[in-house]
Subunit: 414 residues, 4 copies
Amino acid sequence: MDFQLSPRAQELRERLRRFVREEIEPLEPLLAERRRREGHGADWTRWTPAPETEALKAKAREQGLWNLFLPDAQLATGLSHVEYAPLAEEMGRSPLAPEIFNCNAPDTGNMEVLWKYGSPEQKARWLTPLLAGEIRSAFCMTEPEVASSDATNMRATAIADGDEIVINGRKWWSTGIGHPRCAFVIFMGLSDPGAPRHSQHSMVLVPLDTPGVKIERMLTVFNDYDEPYGHGEVSFSNVRVPGTNLIKGLGRGFEIAQGRLGPGRIHHCMRCIGAAERALELMIRRGLSREAFGKPLLQLDGNRERIADLRLAIDQARLLTLYAAWKIDQVGALKALTEISAIKLAAPLALQRVVDEAIQMFGGAGVSEDTPLAAMYANARVMRLADGPDAVHRAMIARVELGKYAPPRHKEPA
Amino acid sequence: MDFQLSPRAQELRERLRRFVREEIEPLEPLLAERRRREGHGADWTRWTPAPETEALKAKAREQGLWNLFLPDAQLATGLSHVEYAPLAEEMGRSPLAPEIFNCNAPDTGNMEVLWKYGSPEQKARWLTPLLAGEIRSAFCMTEPEVASSDATNMRATAIADGDEIVINGRKWWSTGIGHPRCAFVIFMGLSDPGAPRHSQHSMVLVPLDTPGVKIERMLTVFNDYDEPYGHGEVSFSNVRVPGTNLIKGLGRGFEIAQGRLGPGRIHHCMRCIGAAERALELMIRRGLSREAFGKPLLQLDGNRERIADLRLAIDQARLLTLYAAWKIDQVGALKALTEISAIKLAAPLALQRVVDEAIQMFGGAGVSEDTPLAAMYANARVMRLADGPDAVHRAMIARVELGKYAPPRHKEPA
Amino acid sequence: MDFQLSPRAQELRERLRRFVREEIEPLEPLLAERRRREGHGADWTRWTPAPETEALKAKAREQGLWNLFLPDAQLATGLSHVEYAPLAEEMGRSPLAPEIFNCNAPDTGNMEVLWKYGSPEQKARWLTPLLAGEIRSAFCMTEPEVASSDATNMRATAIADGDEIVINGRKWWSTGIGHPRCAFVIFMGLSDPGAPRHSQHSMVLVPLDTPGVKIERMLTVFNDYDEPYGHGEVSFSNVRVPGTNLIKGLGRGFEIAQGRLGPGRIHHCMRCIGAAERALELMIRRGLSREAFGKPLLQLDGNRERIADLRLAIDQARLLTLYAAWKIDQVGALKALTEISAIKLAAPLALQRVVDEAIQMFGGAGVSEDTPLAAMYANARVMRLADGPDAVHRAMIARVELGKYAPPRHKEPA
Amino acid sequence: MDFQLSPRAQELRERLRRFVREEIEPLEPLLAERRRREGHGADWTRWTPAPETEALKAKAREQGLWNLFLPDAQLATGLSHVEYAPLAEEMGRSPLAPEIFNCNAPDTGNMEVLWKYGSPEQKARWLTPLLAGEIRSAFCMTEPEVASSDATNMRATAIADGDEIVINGRKWWSTGIGHPRCAFVIFMGLSDPGAPRHSQHSMVLVPLDTPGVKIERMLTVFNDYDEPYGHGEVSFSNVRVPGTNLIKGLGRGFEIAQGRLGPGRIHHCMRCIGAAERALELMIRRGLSREAFGKPLLQLDGNRERIADLRLAIDQARLLTLYAAWKIDQVGALKALTEISAIKLAAPLALQRVVDEAIQMFGGAGVSEDTPLAAMYANARVMRLADGPDAVHRAMIARVELGKYAPPRHKEPA
């Protein structure tokens, strides 16, 4: 294992670090305040991006802090996952940051899908403007009616009909679909229930303005609509797209999903670690500056032990994430599924724990709008579900572990 | 110890149970939906109570399900704390319920203060309409600038000036202050910094429309304003009230606070247990009805073990709460401080754990507006801070435990 | 629920408390030292009871502190389980204590079996001398070759052959079988594999000197033989006893086992709580008397928080145990299986946690022969397995919980 | 960070792995059985090494699997700490292994002290025979009367008197002192209470046969004397050794201790990970082969989740250990104190947790002499105290973390 950063990655990290702290973090309270005062809540048709983030995006792009996630030296900087890890960690400090560097989910995952599996026409039409930050996209996989932790539960359909694909079904947690520039979704649906288990589904590119696509509502996450991105519930009623909108071909959906989820999960984890670092920093600064019973809070009772335990949790999560990143770099995401599951389990739990303790140090301020902690707490909680709940990752780790001893008796969750 | 319910309490419990489940719980999604569509967010001047809850309040009062918290046989039903415990537990199932039975914080605490310590005039003016549910009130103790876990940090002042009390300072987390019928606050402030440590503070009744009282803003709790109650940040600038608004006299603030906080904390804990029961119920129903990998979720991996551990946590929290209630009934709240601290530590932690697991069973729905879990999760988190953070309660328990062995070396948090 | 102690139970508790602290605890280091110097290790044929414990047994019996576990007013004091709970808790302080009051496992369980299910002849021959403390006994249920958490795995047989029962098989963890006065065992074996699942097994009284009974070896528990009691591995080869040695009749083994295990488990839990109290006491005394970095250890870092959390864990375990005891008193052990499982899960975990922290406060002394903590730590660990591992109790609690919502789909562990 | 193994280290690892599994592990039950039958308990004067381990030592030395811990290319193989880590992990599988490769504590630590700080004469007399495995040694630092977590508590003295050093005091937990070939101890004592805090102590080489050195007793660790090594309590009464027996000079004790403890702690952690791997392996094999309720134990309830969580805990502990090893290699032990504290906290806790769960899967066999788990459980518990209790390591981590924000207000534990 070699987690050493290249000089290039170190240089990027330094610049990114300053950019996040000096340009993005100060923007947070301003945008939050504005949204509380002027936000449009459930009415996503009125959502607009903040001009300040648009300006920072331009600035980031100018400075080459752009599309860093994409391991392609032509289209982007061509960083390895190990090199990208500390950059994503820095981005994790602020919920505003990933988009400003064009490194936000689900666009990153969609860009990777198009980059890896898209036809030249698909790339030209969708990948190029995504990489330029000109359009946004969503990913429609999870469904409201079934347990999506088992992907074979999926009910929505994408059926070939002559030169077209006909799409029906209902999806939710389609993140980003409320953005005014969201141009298309990647839709995953059942194409052939009679095919082998992992060849039944397909992925299709669906422009958002295709007839039959309807955003039914935006979902709240702990009361937050995440404006202007949003998490939509979307219905598809006899939606027809040309067969050229299929990604890779009928029945390739699972394969693409696996390739998509690996890096996506690891990006989430890297960002979790950055968020945890920031929460710990806030906690310590608060604990050093507030006093009770004549001492700084950090001198009271078990508070310093908590700091030690949290430092340990963060460092262990980071090392495991670097290890998974290194594994992806060495053998590809499909052969690093266990390592990815391990970190997908560990990093959000570490973040949840750090934020929980940080809130405790802040008291009421920690659950209010006055600190980033409340949003981090909600995010940490969501991270234990997004891209597979803890249970699915535990099952994967156990399956691989037991597989060392005995042939598996039956198929289990991927 | 005797936790046996009287027949009267059992009968009340049965009626209350049905009322909560049949009348209140079905109202939740309707009101939540309305608030998402028509809510006024930060602009509390436009907040109004829902007509449906007003109607239910009238109905509850008619049925004698009213003011059950007050251990006074004339003014209320005169239940003991042990008798009230299971009733409060039932109310804990729904965030709407406590108000409907006129048993919601902070009004209950304020009514208790007036009932125990108020002058006849104070009772006539403030307690009677509170008991009738005609007005609402707030409690102004916590301050933004200092660690309020140490009450001696308090900076706001309530200074005697002739026949008047002059009030200055800034408070926050003044719950209920946004309610259109909020008529007054109980303000706690420093009267005499030279007095003995626990005789420096006073409590004063301050009509909300007194000149110099200004609601600066409403605070969010995980993005929620808790409309139409709200949690206010309030400034007091040379606010003058007549000396007859003092409760019990100058320097009696601490004594009253202790008497107020005991029952208030135990009510919180009882409600936590009811909320935890509901979350567990939701979790089990979901786990029995959703399938993945060909089985109900509850048949997968460790889910049934989780149910067992959560059942245990709830039952242990309930027994401890009953024990603390019994102790208050026997010796009064001031002599049951450890027992109250114990349950204030245990019950919110149990609730937080149950809700966290329930969310995990629900997936995305658990963090959305579609289940009560997201609100419960926020509430559980707040409960670990409200009325004293965990650390203060741990310190109290430890202090009493060590006091069995050695004289305390120095004073610690109360 | 009513956990109030009767005056009689209070009086017994006071006397027992003094007896344990003044007579028994001081004996511990003396006997431990003697055993280290003169112990016979694996050679159980040379084991003998200490004269000091024999003397204390006589004294305890004289003082009426004898057979307190038995809810029979003629044969014993006739205490309820709620009344016995605090007495057993006191006995839990010292591993020497239960025997001295003739309240030690497995003799208590065997006495209860004989008392509840024994014929008059069986009672005369076995129960009377057991109650007098003249003989000892063992219980042969667990087997080395199968997972005994599933009682239907049992392979040993007890087959009727004319007027006799023929016994074959191998048992282990037959506690007490090494005692020089151990006179008989209660053997549980398969009588009829074709009978309904819970009517296949029988319990038989087998004098230890019956031909074919062979103690193969004594097992160590964390290096300790528990001399002069011991935990034996025993083989039975064509052992023949008269049919009158059957308890209640063929196929009644399961029923008796359930009746036996309930009170036995609750006794274990009561003693766990007493042991935990003693460990906490030792921990606090050490933490107050030793200094590091210029302060008593208890003033350092999180040590006082630990005390608070442990106090909470003990109190919650005690209340749950009292609740289970009360339930047994009300409806009998067979209808209190969940409550018994709950406490069997909670109490040993609480003890393990308390002892673990106490050891940490003692440093090396905590794992050595100089404190009772090492033995308590071993005992706590064993308690999580004895009379059913944690997993069996979690399964029972979950089964009952889920049974409130849906009919069970298949049978699970009892 | 680069944790990649060199080809040489990989080759050594493969050979060591086979040696441990094929030669050492099979020996364990044989030696344990012999010790139970023929052991001498407290009478350490009769302890002797097993001929089988002596034979394996010769074989290991022949094969170059010898002194691998020493980063010296002349005297040993010259492996880095990163290279040694996986070798120590393999040794951790068996309590017999470290000695067989001449890599056991405390001899390794003593060899490192002599290698780093010894005079040529000291090396010739003590290091050479230690490296050859011809003699054994002990380390006398911890004292029975004071909290040794604070090294400045130390009371024993090493006073210069002309050309001699006069030694007085009482030490305990002097591991290895019972070995018949134990030739000397490294004694740490107070030389000058008036010197600066970290220059008051000295380390002195004391031949075990020097007049005035008396082994008072051997201590048990969970009932085990660890024959033929043992953990002694030793008194020193006016023991006189020549001044040339001083290591580095008067007042250099602390400095040497820090240099000694770093690598020693990391060796412990590496071995903990190997032990944890073995416990997990045993747990899985048991869980796959035993059945209850018609299924392998591993198919029941949360057992597979446990496997996942334990795999995660082990992998995280290993990565952190490799990171600390890499840090030592880069900047030396004195500058890697935090990293060493982190792993000293994490690895024993991981081991304790894995072994605890493994025992649970084994039932009674897990606490008996029939598996290595009981010994591992005792060892894991001791590891949380040896070379500094958890609390000291938490304090160190917290101190460094807080030091990033503010100058420390007062000195804390090292």
